[in-house]
């Protein structure tokens, strides 16, 4: 179980890295490597060229920019998990990290790399969608920003082009008193989950406002539940309503079958987890 041979490049700055990306062949960015290298060891991935961005220290940051928390491409999971800024403004991310991978993997892996990998069962793509994060994609001479909901296209598929690097993640600070909920079921803590449900919402005048809900591990990629959000907006938070919404979301889901868990199980998990997540979010919003 050894990787096949590749050309190794370690650019000194971002422009150099971007220039290398245009050079053709199967060229991959090597950030934390915690998903890419296992695939290379299994020879499921066999890039011709790896561009190691680990020395691009200008991309290693988590910072506050007015109403946005900006996270650079090289910010490791461990740094995000233990960041005071994240704890203060985006506690759902800190909470989720208790369920994501293990310490040694979080020490190397990067949040942006995880998003680019776009595993269907990964938690962060769902969280970025309800936080309405923007992903900054850079290429030589240009930059564009893509909303998280548009970034994830399918399993291991994103909107990123071959000559682009995800250089920054921009997460708007949620409004005051935004409640959040996070639940997942995995075989073991730290495993990819069979189903993750996340939500944020506010309570205004006793009614649910700006509900955002997303699922991971069920469909081909993490998805926002627009129907559930519309059904929830403006309603009084009640268990009966949550159960109804969960039932509806379960019915609408198009779960990916796998040997380890069938579609009916995934629907069951939506039914079980969504009401809990909404209940937690409401409690935190009050």
């Amino acid at each position: 179980m050894k990787p096949s041979a590749f050309r190794y490049e370690r650019p000194a700055d971002l422009p150099a890295a971007l220039a290398l990306l245009g050079s053709g062949g199967d060229t991959r960015i090597l950030a934390g490597g915690q998903s890419l290298v296992p695939m290379m060891n299994y020879r499921l991935a066999r890039p011709d060229c790896l561009i190691d961005i680990n020395r691009l220290s200008e991309l290693d940051y988590i910072r506050e920019e007015d109403d946005v928390i900006a996270i650079g491409a090289l910010a490791r999971h461990a740094a995000v998990k233990s960041s005071d800024l994240i704890a203060a403004h985006l506690p759902i991310i800190a909470e989720a990290y208790d369920w994501i991978a293990h310490a040694a993997v979080r020490n190397r892996g990067t949040l942006c790399g995880n998003l680019c990998h776009a595993d269907a069962a990964s938690e962060m793509p769902a969280i970025m969608q309800i936080l309405e994060a923007e992903l900054v994609l850079s290429k030589t001479g240009a930059q564009r920003s893509v909303a998280a909901t548009d970034f994830f296209v399918g399993t291991y598929e994103t909107a990123i082009a071959a000559d682009e690097i995800l250089t920054e993640l921009r997460i708007p600070k949620p409004a005051e008193k935004t409640g959040w909920g996070f639940e997942e079921v995995a075989m073991r803590r730290g495993d990819y989950a069979w189903c993750t449900v996340v939500a944020t919402l506010q309570i205004r005048d006793g009614q649910i406002a700006s509900p955002r809900i997303a699922l991971a591990g069920v469909n081909a990629c993490a998805t926002r539940l627009g129907d559930a959000e519309r059904a929830l907006a403006g309603q009084s938070p009640e268990e009966g309503l949550f159960a109804e919404i969960a039932q509806d979301a379960a019915n609408r889901a198009e779960p990916q079958e796998s040997a380890a868990s069938d579609a009916e199980y995934k629907r069951d998990l939506i039914r079980a987890l969504l009401p809990r997540v909404l209940g937690d979010a409401v409690a935190r919003a009050r």
């Binding site: 179980m1 079921v185 075989m187 073991r188 803590r189 069979w194 380890a260 069938d262 079980a272």
Partner: protein, 826 residues
């Protein structure tokens, strides 16, 4: 005693050291002798071995479960720079014979496939290259043309398959490789007279040891220097030359197997003969030393790490008052593509198939089914973990059907403390025990009454909380008849009856005891055990004992750590060696003290005059004098230089099976007893199980080292938790093993283990082994699945969920709950 057992006479005890209080070293939780070198990274595992000129092998593995090999083109691979050679099954067959098999008649198995492949991962070609990276590059360039055949994946369907779906048409006309029936006692009469018959169909699915180190070999061949030198992480290195010499076309004496520290086995490395034959053959073909270490995928798909995979149709006959009278079952076992280890796992289960209960007769039909999966190998419990679970499931089922309390029903049927040695219907005996005491200590440790009330109250609130109790046997000190006693009487195969364990002890002129062991360290504590026993018997300090491992040419009898035998067996060898050394020491020491040997004794590492304080000679001084100053002693052989002995201990208590197999003889007689009690909560919406509390009480006779024994119990329990809750084999309908990796084959991490595990011990010494020691290497896994299953069923009792199959992963358990919910609303 039933008539069928009358010919099975229990031999007298050969115990020399009686169990007793006041021992100095035995019973101490001494820190392990093995640890400092391991902790400092200098253990020396198989992949740490390098020899000059060594090359590396990589395998080309079958992507198909069942296919004919039409052609193999190795030309591109051979042309790659750094490649020494590329070899197919036919090439390998020019230097090796088929693998040995415990099945009789054998199922032909080649270390590298010839003609066709029978499971995903089977090796079809191998590359030997200058490094592993290049070897893997070349392996990808080997082109194989396949003709895909129908794959047999389902156990029952495979048993009925014909035509191209037959795995071994040359050896068997069916995929059922063995089909044997047995009746031990008056099974039919007991069932005819039964007041109630409990029936269950029970499924125990494939599980796996998955030691963190894979299997590996470094092999060298030199025809001018005596054949093969092989480093291997086999548990059994002093025995396998006799098993595989024929396959390697050398005499056992031309096969030097050198042991290494082994990174876990749990049975999976007991033999390792296929990988040894494969690597040795490659070394011979390539003309250079070859290292082959399985990667994790290869260990999952082509090693010997898969455990039992069985379907039982079981019946328990019960009298009007709840007394169990007879047990019978038909069992199908999915052995995978080969039957290298025969049906030894079923032979093993015959040691304790009726559990701790007074069941008068037992009947069985066993059918070994071949399928297109990786072959089974041994895994902690070796088949008895399955029958423990089956027995305990049947008792729980009986309690439910009879409206009895499951614990009380167990107590009613348990063998009484005054009934030992107790012979079970298969002919094996239980040497000693006090099952009632183990149960009662476990109940107290766990607070069973308190927990049952608590669970009841929590269920009333709508929570799914339950408690499970398992009272199970832990047979130890295995005898080898298990490998062949269930084979057809006309073709029983290799009817081996020896499992000796040897030791060499030499008192060095400096006063250190140099010990040579003949079995490897695999995560057990062979050096610590021997240090404690020799220190006890010879009155020396454990730190004055130095350890060494023989290789198979310098070694003596050694069968290794398996079947929970090593501690009890090596204790016997230590006692034999100590008796002889004591005699020599006294002879030399008495002469130096100018006394008669009968007037001296061993005291704190000296030979000392009985009753006199200062009249003594330190062992070191005696050893120095006896080694270097021959003329200080009289003429005569008895004063030949040096103090050294080699001793061997044979199985303490075994008899032959009856010719007609009306019983199987005594073969696994030193039995421990275990009680596991667990409380769980099930999340009914997700099927997740949380362990709320756990207590285990084990009786392994006299404990040599309580802490290392506790380590075995905890580790075994972790294995049992994995087997029950999370470790699942996903074979799809084409025979692809889709989760052969550590990310998806979910072995418990520290997060999955119970938070408040409580462990207790009862010590009922064996009357047959030295000091009364029993084995204890498998117990956790022999009890945990039964207790957990029972607790989960109890937690879901209000919802009518029944558990008849393991594992119960969250998706599976949620599926059972969903079915019960749907049935209730119908």
């Amino acid at each position: 005693m039933s008539d069928h057992l009358k010919s099975n006479v229990i031999p007298p005890s050969r115990q020399r050291e009686a169990p007793r209080a006041g021992l100095t070293w035995i019973g101490q939780s001494m820190m392990r002798v093995e640890d400092p070198r391991i902790l400092s990274g200098k253990g020396g595992y198989i992949d740490d071995i390098t020899v000059p000129g060594m090359a590396h092998a990589a395998m080309v593995s079958s992507p198909h479960a069942h296919a004919r090999i039409v052609s193999i083109d190795t030309s591109k691979a051979s042309a790659l720079p750094g490649v020494i050679g590329v070899y197919t099954g036919e090439d390998l067959a020019s230097v090796v014979e088929p693998c040995p098999s415990f099945a009789s008649p054998p199922i032909t198995q080649h270390a590298m496939a010839m003609g066709k492949v029978r499971h995903v991962g089977e090796v079809v070609a191998a590359v030997v290259a200058e490094d592993r990276y290049v070897a893997e590059d070349a392996a990808e360039l080997v082109e194989v043309e396949w003709e895909v055949l129908p794959a047999c994946v389902d156990l029952e369907a495979s048993a009925a398959a014909t035509g191209d779906a037959l795995l071994h048409p040359d050896d068997r006309e069916s995929n059922v490789a063995l089909d044997e029936s047995f009746a031990f006692g008056e099974v039919d009469r007991h069932f005819a007279e039964a007041h109630h018959i409990v029936k269950r169909r029970l499924r125990w699915q494939r599980s796996s040891a998955q030691a963190i180190e894979t299997s590996g070999v470094v092999a060298q061949f030199d025809p001018f220097k005596g054949g093969y030198t092989i480093h291997a992480n086999s548990n059994f290195y002093n025995f396998i030359p006799f098993v595989i010499g024929g396959a390697l076309r050398v005499s056992p004496g031309e096969l030097r197997i050198v042991p290494v520290l082994t990174g876990g086995s749990f049975g999976s490395k007991v033999f390792s003969h296929k990988i040894i034959i494969l690597t040795a053959g490659l070394a011979r073909l390539a003309g250079v030393p070859v290292k082959y270490i399985e990667d994790r995928l290869e260990h999952f798909t082509n090693s010997d790490s898969h455990g039992s995979d069985r379907l039982y149709d079981t019946e328990l006959a019960v009298a009007g008052d709840g007394t169990f009278t007879s047990l019978r079952f038909t069992v199908l076992d999915d052995y995978g593509a080969y039957l290298q280890f025969g049906v030894g796992t079923h032979g093993n289960a015959m040691a304790q198939v009726t559990g701790p209960y007074r069941i008068q007769s037992f009947g069985m039909r066993v059918r070994a089914v071949l399928t297109n999966k990786t072959q089974q190998g041994p895994y902690r419990g070796f088949g008895s973990e399955v029958t423990n679970w089956v027995m305990e499931r049947m008792v729980d089922a009986a309690a439910e059907e009879l409206g009895r309390d499951p614990v009380e029903l167990r107590v009613q049927n348990m063998i009484q403390p005054d009934q030992f040695p107790y012979m079970i219907p298969t002919g094996n005996i239980y040497d000693s025990g006090n099952f009632q005491k183990v149960l009662s200590e476990a109940q107290t440790l766990f607070d069973l009454d308190g927990w049952r009330k608590k669970a009841h109250a929590m269920r009333a609130e709508g929570r799914c909380v339950g408690v499970g109790v398992a009272t199970c046997m832990e047979r130890s000190v295995y005898g080898p008849t298990e490998w062949w006693s269930l084979n057809n009487k006309e073709t029983p195969g290799f009817t081996l009856t020896s499992t000796p364990e040897g030791i060499t002890v030499r008192l060095d002129p400096s006063g250190k005891l140099f010990v040579t062991l003949n079995s490897p360290m695999v995560g057990n504590s062979p050096e610590t055990v021997v240090a404690q026993i020799l220190a006890e018997r010879l009155t020396v300090a454990p730190e004055d004992i130095v350890f060494n491992y023989s290789d198979s040419q310098s070694g003596f009898n050694g069968v290794g750590p398996q079947g929970s035998r090593f501690t009890a067996m090596i204790a016997g060898a230590c006692v034999s060696a100590s008796i002889r050394l004591e005699e020599k020491l006294k002879r030399f020491g008495a002469h130096m003290l100018q006394r008669r040997p009968e007037d001296v004794e061993l005291r704190n590492g000296t030979v000392a005059v009985k009753g006199l304080k200062d009249q003594e000679k330190a062992f070191g001084e005696i050893a120095l004098t006896s080694s270097f100053f021959r003329l200080s002693f009289p003429d005569g052989e008895e004063f030949d230089s040096g103090i050294e002995t080699t001793a061997v201990y044979d199985h303490p208590l075994s008899t032959d099976p009856a010719e007609d197999r009306s019983h199987l003889g005594i073969f696994y007689p030193i039995v421990g007893h275990i009680c596991h009690i667990v409380a769980v909560e099930v999340d009914p919406g997700t099927g997740k199980v949380e362990i709320l509390d756990y207590a285990a009480v084990h009786d392994n006779g006299t404990m040599v080292n309580p802490r290392t024994l506790a380590g075995q119990v905890w580790g075994g329990t972790a294995n049992g938790i994995g087997t029950t809750l999370s470790e699942v084999f996903n074979y799809d309908e084409t025979g692809q093993f889709t989760n052969a990796n550590f990310a998806e084959f979910a072995m418990p991490t520290a997060n999955e283990m119970p938070r408040n595990f409580k462990l207790g011990h009862v010590e009922t010494p064996s009357p047959f082994t030295e000091y009364g020691i029993k084995g204890g290497g498998e117990g956790g896994r022999l009890g945990a699945p039964s207790a957990l299953t029972s607790a989960i069923e109890d937690a879901l009792s209000d919802r009518g969920v029944k558990i008849a199959s393991l594992p119960v992963t969250p998706p599976i358990l949620r599926g059972l709950i969903r079915s019960a919910e749907q049935a209730a609303t119908r």
